[in-house]
Amino acid sequence: SSLFVYPTKIIIKTCGTTQLLKSIRPLLNYACDLGLILCGCRYTRGSFIFPNSQPYPHTSFREEVMYLEESLPSHLCYRKATVMPSKLSSHSWHVFTASDDEESHSHMPEESYTIEVCMTELDHVLARKFFRRPNDGKSGDSAGKEMTEITGIGEINPNAIICDFAFDPCGYSMNSLDGDRYSTIHVTPEDGFSYASFECVGSIYDHRNNLVEVLKKAALVFRPATMSVSITCAEHEVWTRVAAALEPLGWKCRSCAVDEFPTIGNVIFQTFTTRRK
């Protein structure tokens, strides 16, 4: 799980049975003490593998939306909640946004995008690299650094500062910082419910191959049988580069859905599976 704190933005991403939405009220109180006013909220997630294990308010998307509606101040009056479908019943994308301004792009630079990748059924050999050796005597930081190196994660963006951690007996989390941009990776490597996520931010004005190269590198660290890619961006064009990056490597695009949200622009949700599937 990860937390990013910018002067006027906070991003929290948590897995397991954490009750993420319960952070909203205390965060709003602390921000208010600093003279900051909430102007936008975005909540996203994929489909849980074990939905029945989730505690309130994450028992269903409907419950989550109700909790969000009650927790957010009334001036965030432009609200939208959608489940974006895919051809894979286990991969849907849940999106809730709220804003104080109907105008698109007012809180997000028009050129910036966020990519959230969810990968399941990781390659067994590659997933083994995220298990620690029993009694390795290492700290989580030290074991994390080793995983970053041996898996090739450190090469995804060689210019970034990396903060990594290996859990015991298995699992890995990494945040990277490159100027004002973050990226993050989280891995649950156990057979039967293996999962990895990759998330980064970028600009449509970056060198055209940046997105393609980063996505390729991240996908090849895990070689998942199935992955979903969600892009939040003011304009549509970025998503065409995703299939161009992944199809030559053996993943086939199975579905693509697009929806528009107040302030943040478009969310494009694509799913991919290996051709053998």
Partner: protein, 62 residues
């Protein structure tokens, strides 16, 4: 698929704020203790942290 196991799929929340802050630090002024209280509500803790001139990043348990 396993009957039960660790849920990898994350929930992601992004909150955007506005306001006048001459120093420009905004939310970065929050005491670590305050962040810990927020994370306590979520049921996780900080295991590692690093920051640069633009933002602070924390790796969390779970």
């Amino acid at each position: 698929m396993a009957v039960s196991g660790f849920e990898g799929f994350e929930k992601r929340l992004e909150l955007q704020f506005s306001g006048d802050d001459p120093a420009g630090l905004g939310l970065r002024q929050l005491e670590f203790e305050s962040l810990e209280k927020v994370l306590h509500a979520v049921q996780c803790t900080v295991v590692s942290a690093v920051g640069n001139q633009y933002f602070d990043s924390y790796v969390l348990s779970e």
